[in-house]
């Protein structure tokens, strides 16, 4: 706990125009009110800066963490002007909803959501076997220069009540997790959905004192992708990150644009839409095998896929086991296909020797890859040099009705 530097500034006013704009937060968005044609065309408050291993990432949580995309969000006590801006929020297109460590929320007090006679809490698990545990509370969340949205978030607190088995090793600190928080802006709205309204589910719990029992959670109480609640820019996001040469960079800066085709600055151009299924998956064919469990994930810090049968991609030895370590950088390609089997496109990519990459002083790499078991996880390198549109389920844009990816 002691080494956590709180990249936090407490704000006492809702005049947060400084958070908007893609150029570092100095843009003044004076007219964020009416939605007439004029303001739609000039509005730039739907842009958040992304730094990959840059100034928005905390050094205390980011060591040995390449390809880490960070944004900043502002949290307010519900219905008040008591707000706090928190950096080092991992941008994650592979999850849904905002989760922030309670230990960094020093200046605001989100409102606990009840569950029966107890307090609603949640255990979320990730693909790497890690987990986050803590109460579900309502906060006003401000992204960029958008209006605040009131939304259930998870306040990460490993010591809340008694964690269920799956969360008994949940990350206890930002340093352990590798972030102050995580902003899930993937293809879904709710982090569980209908099933959690019907039956105990392994995610939601009702806690009274130290006792926590599995419970249902109505949709209105589930942790929710805050983009879905924006007044206008609520149909998805665009992730824009610059291309990167071989060998990498110390950091890169890009933009998260809220909304697709809702403003002058987010009109789709030159991209193809690939439908995803109900699990936010589409297909990737690599080395002659089609993986239906394939997805685009800014929260994955490499390209993760099963090694080709040729043996051209040996895994690294310890301590970098799990990454690929080809003797020389190799060129590969795969075909991405919509979940409905159309359309398809070929993606060319490179994989370099991870041991060599990690020996440099760089932290952002486009040619970083690792092993994967049952699918193809297009992580952050996929996004470098490619505008990726994340079309939310049941929302429509000129690219179609989500869930879809477009690039």
């Amino acid at each position: 706990m002691k080494s956590i530097s709180l990249l936090v500034s407490v704000l006492v006013t809702l005049a947060l125009s400084g958070c908007g704009g893609g150029g570092g937060g100095t843009t003044s968005s004076s007219s964020s009110t009416s939605s007439n044609t004029t303001s739609v065309s000039t509005f730039s408050g739907n842009v958040l800066t992304i730094t990959v291993n840059g100034s928005l990432c905390s050094s205390s949580t980011s060591s040995s963490y390449p390809n880490k995309p960070c944004v900043s969000v502002t949290i307010c006590s519900p219905g008040t002007a008591t707000c706090q801006t928190v950096n080092d929020i991992l941008l994650d297109t592979g999850s849904y909803g905002l989760r922030i460590f309670g230990s960094v929320l020093t200046g605001v007090a989100p409102t606990q959501i009840a569950s029966g006679s107890g307090s609603l809490a949640e255990c979320v698990q990730f693909g790497d076997g890690s987990a986050l545990w803590g109460p579900v509370r309502t906060a006003d969340v401000i992204m960029g220069g958008e209006p605040a949205v009131q939304v259930p978030i998870q306040v990460i607190d490993a010591g809340f009540g008694t964690a269920p088995t799956a969360c008994q090793s949940a990350d206890a600190t930002p340093a352990a997790a590798g972030f102050n928080g995580i902003l899930g802006v993937g293809l879904h709205d709710y982090d569980c959905g209908t099933f959690c309204t019907l039956a105990s589910n392994g995610m939601y719990y009702s806690c009274t004192g130290t006792s926590c029992t599995a419970t249902t959670a109505p949709l209105a109480n589930q942790v929710r992708n805050p983009v879905a609640l924006l007044p206008l820019d609520n149909n998805g996001v665009i992730v824009k990150l610059p291309a990167l040469g071989t060998g990498g960079a110390t950091s890169v800066t890009g933009s998260l644009i809220l909304g697709i085709g809702t403003r002058a600055n987010n009109i789709p151009s030159g991209v193809t839409s690939y439908p995803a299924d109900q699990y936010a998956r589409f297909k990737t064919t690599f080395d002659g095998i089609t993986y239906s469990s394939s997805f685009l994930d800014t929260g994955s810090n490499g390209l993760f896929f099963p090694a080709p049968s040729s043996g051209s991609l040996p895994a690294c030895s310890s301590p970098n086991a799990g990454w690929y370590c080809p003797p020389t950088t190799i060129n590969l390609s795969a075909i991405t296909t919509g979940a409905t089997s159309l359309p398809s496109s070929t993606i060319n990519f490179m994989i370099a020797n991870a041991n060599s990459l990690f020996l440099t002083s760089n932290s952002v790499f486009s040619e970083l890859g690792g092993t994967y078991a049952g699918g193809f996880d297009w992580g952050l390198p996929f996004f470098l040099g490619r505008d990726v549109y994340v079309g939310m389920a049941n929302k429509t844009s000129s690219l179609g009705t989500g869930p879809y990816w477009a690039y």
Binding site: A199, A280, F304
Partner: protein, 156 residues
């Protein structure tokens, strides 16, 4: 490569307690599949299917929060388990006698931040997890007991 899907129990009830961790019907890794039949009563809450391959069968258990598949060799030993769903299942149940060596190996496994997959290799069992929110996946298997000719990619 013929595949027969036979629905043994089609139930409309899908009540599960705390997700997949509570599926009493699961046999454990390395043991015989007999507990699957003896626990038939407990199965009333899940939909179950059996898929027959040339050198093994797959017993599938489904609840709203996920699906667990148990791979049973012709001699009747569970040599692998795979899952997908909202949550990872409770491995202390599924790994049975291998739980201790898994947990020991897990402690030795260095956490890699940002990686959405994880692999724990111990003397006899390999556990892998991967996936993302609302679609978590994984498998646990005993390499020494995998029938010859079975590709690891079939365990999914």
């Amino acid at each position: 490569m013929h595949t027969t899907i036979r629905v043994l129990l089609a139930c409309t009830i899908t009540i599960q307690v705390a997700g997949m961790s509570a599926q009493k019907a699961e046999a454990t890794l390395g043991q015989t599949a007999s507990s699957i039949t003896s626990d038939r009563n407990a199965l009333s809450a899940v939909h179950r299917a059996t898929m027959t391959r040339s050198s093994y069968t797959v017993q599938e258990f489904t609840s709203g929060s996920g699906t667990v598949r148990e791979f049973v060799s012709l001699p009747g030993i569970v040599f692998a388990i795979a899952w997908n769903g909202l949550v990872h299942p409770d491995l202390t149940t599924l790994l049975g006698a291998y739980t201790a060596e898994y947990q020991s190996a897990l402690k030795q496994t260095v956490r890699k931040r940002g990686v959405r997959r994880h692999q724990v290799i111990s003397d006899q069992v390999i556990v892998e997890k991967w996936g993302h929110m609302r679609n978590l996946q994984g498998r646990a298997y005993l390499p020494a007991l995998i029938p010859s000719g079975v590709d690891i990619n079939e365990i999914n």
